[in-house]
């Protein structure tokens, strides 16, 4: 890759072209904050939180599992709002935010689906049951995986953004319907622990649970802080490439 910097190249790269760009102060800040909270919550999970009476130490997966589920919903809500924002304003930033949030949300949803069965096996004796919350999470995972598939299989970038926005909106509208229908279909979530309104959780557990939520929120923000500028840089690159091929200027810019 030659050393000349094209006009309008993405900022935030510290003025260096080529290899890995430096992180901005904000990105470094949020990464450090996330790391601090993560270490604190990990300590709390294994050493501070009380040992659960019935399930024992296995219950500690809860501090990884439940906050991931909550923040995953938040991430998909952000995708929903950003999708509407894109369709209304047609500003590419909304599209980048929608996609980034869907990716991070899908990651957290995968965490829920991986930690859940690991927890379920010793407690319920089975990796999986088709009850309300598990099935809802699985459907959610499928919905947002198909959101990303729609992006992958649509070649035209403008079409891609529009289609994804429509799927992002309809997918989120479906979530409460899916949850209600599966809850009605299967009855109860057979968990001993009830987390509603903080009732039923002992003090130390509540603290670590809260710590877990804050950590996951920070992790979400941290991943978004890295992914969104990356997405915007990809948009810039695509714009530059399209411009170069339109002008017929020499050899195409290589992506490698």
């Amino acid at each position: 890759m030659n050393g000349t910097k094209a006009a309008g190249a993405p900022s935030g790269s510290g003025g260096r072209s080529g290899a890995c760009a430096a992180m901005t102060a904000g990105q470094i800040g949020i990464t450090l904050l996330t790391t601090v909270f993560a270490i604190a919550t990990l300590y709390g999970t294994f050493f501070y939180a009380a040992r659960e009476k019935v399930m024992g130490d296995v219950q500690r997966i809860f501090y990884f599992h439940a906050p991931a589920g909550i923040i995953c919903f938040l991430a998909f809500f952000v995708t929903f709002v950003a999708s509407i924002g894109y369709l209304v304003t047609r500003k590419r930033t909304w599209d980048v935010v929608a996609r980034s949030s869907a990716e991070v949300g899908l990651l957290f949803c995968s965490i829920v689906l991986l930690t859940g069965p690991l927890w379920a096996r010793p407690i319920w004796g089975t990796y999986w049951t088709w009850e309300a919350r598990l099935t809802t999470t699985l459907i959610l995972w499928l919905l947002y995986a198909s959101y990303l598939l729609v992006r992958r299989y649509t070649d035209d970038p403008d079409q891609q953004a529009r289609f994804a926005a429509v799927v992002g909106i309809l997918g989120f509208l479906d979530v409460p319907v899916v949850y209600w229908s599966i809850k009605f279909w299967r009855g109860h979530h057979p968990l001993v622990l009830k987390v509603s309104g903080g009732g039923g959780l002992e003090e130390s557990m509540k603290t670590v649970f809260l710590g877990g939520i804050i950590t996951y929120i920070l992790l979400y923000l941290c991943l978004m802080a890295i992914r969104v500028p990356m997405g915007r840089a990809e948009e810039e690159l695509r714009w530059l490439e399209a411009g170069a091929s339109r002008r017929g200027a020499g050899a195409p810019i290589s992506r490698t």
Binding site: L149, V150, Y153, L173, V178, W180, S181
Partner: protein
């Protein structure tokens, strides 16, 4: 208020024109309906082999079997709905016509709904025959349950097929999107059909709650799809 009502009637007429066009095309050269019918029938036959070892009652396994058959043949009709517009770039013609995108969607959706209903009307009696079930006493309940769920399915399917027609691997993308989104509707469909086949009440009790949810699903997604269709078909 009078102007709004007249406007609504005008849009309804345009939607029916679009729907009529699709149905007329199908009538002139039956391409889609035979395929849907045979596919649905094939699904029933295959399911029968799957359950042969245990001899379940039709009320227990019938609803699931029927709705798998309907949903798979539904995918065929949705795929066909926009594939047919690819010839001669017919979709462009529709889009430059003085017709609102939402109205175009409603027209297409009604055509898909009617195609699915025709196939269901053929498959239901046939399934009763194949599985030795007397369907006549429950025909009334079925006549309520099946169309309500078909409507919601057609609402979502038509929108996603417009999208899938313009992507690579649209044939794979359409079922993935459609099945993920319509899970609650399918659960409701199976529950309500089971209640109907068992001769039970469909407007009260658990089945009644499911019917209410299905109606809510229909309304929410018809509205959402009508509003977002223009973003899918714009250039």
């Amino acid at each position: 208020m009078n102007g709004a009502f007249a406007g609504l009637l005008r849009e309804a007429r345009k939607a029916l024109l679009v729907c009529g066009k699709d149905l007329r095309i199908e009538w002139k050269s039956p391409d889609n309906l035979p395929a849907m019918f045979f596919f649905g029938l094939l699904v029933l036959v295959i399911f029968n082999f799957g359950f042969e070892a245990i001899t379940p009652s039709f009320v227990d396994v019938g609803p699931g079997m029927l709705w798998v058959a309907f949903s798979f043949s539904g995918v065929l009709t949705f795929a066909h709905a926009f594939a047919v517009e690819r010839e001669g770039d017919a979709l462009q013609g529709l889009l430059v016509a003085p017709i609102d995108a939402g109205t175009l969607y409603i027209g297409k959706m009604i055509a898909c709904f009617l195609s699915m209903t025709l196939v269901e009307l053929a498959i239901l009696p046939l399934s009763a025959l194949l599985f030795d079930f007397n369907i006549v006493p429950v025909a009334g309940s079925l006549a309520v349950v099946v169309p309500i769920h078909t409507l919601g399915y057609a609402a979502v399917g038509t929108l996603f097929s417009a999208m899938a027609a313009r992507t690579r691997r649209g044939d794979v993308l359409l079922p993935i999107l459609l099945f993920s989104l319509s899970v609650p509707l399918m659960i409701s469909a199976v529950r309500c059909t089971q209640a109907a086949l068992a001769g039970g009440a469909i407007f009260t009790g658990p089945a009644g709650a499911w019917m209410a949810m299905a109606c809510a699903f229909d309304v929410i997604f018809l509205a959402a799809a009508t509003l977002t269709f223009e973003y899918v078909v714009e250039d």
